[in-house]
Symmetry: C2
Amino acid sequence: MSKKEKDPKIQEKITEFKNLCNALGLKLTHQRLEIFSELCRSVDHPSAEILYKRLLKRISTLSLDTVYRTLMTFKEYGLIDKIETTENQSRFEVKMSTHHHFICKNCNKIYDFDWKDFDESALPDNLSNIGGVIHKSVIVYGYCNACDEKKNEKVNKLRF
Amino acid sequence: MSKKEKDPKIQEKITEFKNLCNALGLKLTHQRLEIFSELCRSVDHPSAEILYKRLLKRISTLSLDTVYRTLMTFKEYGLIDKIETTENQSRFEVKMSTHHHFICKNCNKIYDFDWKDFDESALPDNLSNIGGVIHKSVIVYGYCNACDEKKNEKVNKLRF
DNA sequence: AAGAAAATAAGTATTATTCTTATTTAGTAA
DNA sequence: TTACTAAATAAGAATAATACTTATTTTCTT
């Protein structure tokens, strides 16, 4: 999995995380730090189970329940985001900056993309009849270029 | 549950459904028709289990598995939509027209809202690097007015 | 360094969804 | 209409995803 090992932004985020844990009265355990760091480094919006498998290499005694529980806690405190999907396995991310998601209908990969115009646009008035908005995001569906290429390879194989 | 029992739009949608089943080679079973109709009438984006419970009143021998299987099939053929959520129970809808979702952070209710300007707006260019888009939608989060009212009631009770 | 509160690991439990198989049904063709 | 065939269903078992229980360990405080 493509990681950004020593990206200063990640270091910064982890420092911020430590400070927030302190401020929130969350104990800064080894597990919490590793789970948060791993999720920070992950660019693929991993599930709890995927994270757990990656983390086992660093903490061999880690339990899957701890990953679930910790992600839950992080989410409750707004330290990470749970992603909206149609899959039945939850996926997570640490948001470094505002972005939106492209989800591939074939491979289910989630890609981030920026859309400044959207971020700056006002929501429709009729929303006030429903409630007060705290956060907005766009999800787009389609077939990612990687999947298209694979499909073309197969077609070419059939052809020759 | 607020239903629109004899709404002509729903009747139309059901007729369309029957035609599509025919065209797609899907057998038009009693179960399929009832499941589709019930989902059409539902304004609350129900889960498979909720649908199942409602349908039991009409088809006492219905099995939950049939509901799951049928919803899956419908989704595969694009007859219904599975909704993006952060919950672990899947939720579904029959889309009568383009709309977007407001999800209440407190009660998890999903409200529909229209946003024509968004529907007509062009997606950012950088998306072509990721893949070809087929569908786009907005999700907004917040606290719905119903939950706000309840909260205020509690506060008032505490106050007096 | 010691103690209290919180977090973890391990195993168990629950919830959500899917699979297996025998039976039934819809659509088709005689 | 009747009979046939493929597809769909019901029931129950199985799997997958997540959460709970409790004894032990760890962090943070003093």
